[in-house]
Symmetry: C2
Subunit: 221 residues, 2 copies
């Protein structure tokens, strides 16, 4: 269903590639470009609606109003508020991936890739502040989506570390524990310096964190 | 209101020291040992009630039933479900601190302290699985408590790093960004290996993560 990652555009703050938008039910996948555009409009509107109001207070009519679509369009793609929320978690997860991946893949080595990955994640958070509220609320609304978002994201990082280790760019034992540790680091730095602190120098935060990740806390002789 | 951290008992999985239990309103602080015991019973029961049912479905009568106290006792200390939830976030945050701090303080240097801190956190999560759901739900129920929990916890880590740097045990520039990065690392490892995976060897996870933290991802020559 998804295009290969390398074909995703590296655009920042945009609506993401069409292919990341999918309805709750695969049978309802749009068959025309116009349909895909409507679906994407609904998901972008849902991000604002859920991000501003939270799952409980968000409404389907609020989503279609923001999207500028008829209520019927909603039901062409989704059966319920739960279903679009679930699709939205996957959509945001994939938008994030499509934003970060091409930048990371262009990095000269795995250490730089992790710095670029963190910096581009911090920029994504600044542009899409609703991502924390939406992903975090999935813990309560749809635990399977919540867990899948992190497992998918971390598996991608683990694979990246494994490839970097195979190329001799980082320590040979880098694996799953390292990937979860780095993911947590990034998510917390995103909350502190992307979400809460508008004025933080994102490149600087990424540089400091990456230097610790690369070289460790231990004092060098 | 709190005792100094170093006087907290290092007990694991217990109800925590009496002093971490405080009602929502300081005017309602219990004056007798019996009152403090009741308050603690209510907070421990609230942890189970909110942990199992979530904020929305949890009820005051569910809390008093689990605590084995009369409904009147609840209102001696709290005015509402919101108020005991807020007190519970602080209580859990302080229980965690009181569990981890003495172990960390006994470590021979700051690198070991971070390993011991992570390992004892992972053990705390295994014994108090409800902590994730409660702290995470605070993001939606009481954002100020949510943010305060992390800011307080990370400030304690930052201070620890600063002291370790002053003693020459770690790199001299260790500061706020490093502290947030380490906190995120610990929270994600706790979710993955404390909460989701009962069978993971906690000491091993802490050792692997600490080795990356100490020495970095970079390949050593």
């Amino acid at each position: 269903m998804d295009q290969p990652r390398s074909s995703a555009p590296p655009g920042e703050g945009g609506a993401g590639p069409v292919d990341t938008a999918a309805p709750g039910n695969p049978d309802k996948a749009p068959r025309t470009e116009r349909g895909r555009r409507t679906l994407r409009k609904l998901l972008d509107a849902a991000a604002i609606e859920f991000g501003e109001r939270g799952f409980h207070d968000a409404s389907i009519s609020g989503i279609t109003r923001r999207a500028g679509t008829a209520l019927g369009s909603f039901y062409t793609y989704f059966d319920s508020k739960e279903e679009i929320f679930q699709a939205l978690v996957r959509y945001m997860s994939e938008q994030l991936r499509d934003h970060v991946t091409p930048l990371v893949q262009a990095a000269p080595d795995e250490i730089v890739a992790e710095r670029v990955g963190l910096e581009s994640f911090l920029r994504f958070v600044r542009e899409h502040k609703e991502i924390y509220r939406i992903i975090d609320e999935a813990e309560f609304v749809d635990y399977a989506s919540y867990r899948r978002h992190y497992e998918t994201t971390v598996e991608r990082m683990r694979q990246r570390l494994e490839n970097g280790a195979a190329r001799g760019e980082i320590r040979a034992d880098a694996g799953e524990v390292h990937a979860w540790a780095i993911a947590g680091m990034n998510v917390f730095l995103g909350m502190r310096y992307g979400l809460w602190d508008e004025s933080a120098d994102i490149a600087d935060v990424a540089r400091i964190a990456n230097d610790m990740l690369a070289n460790g806390l231990r004092k060098k002789d």
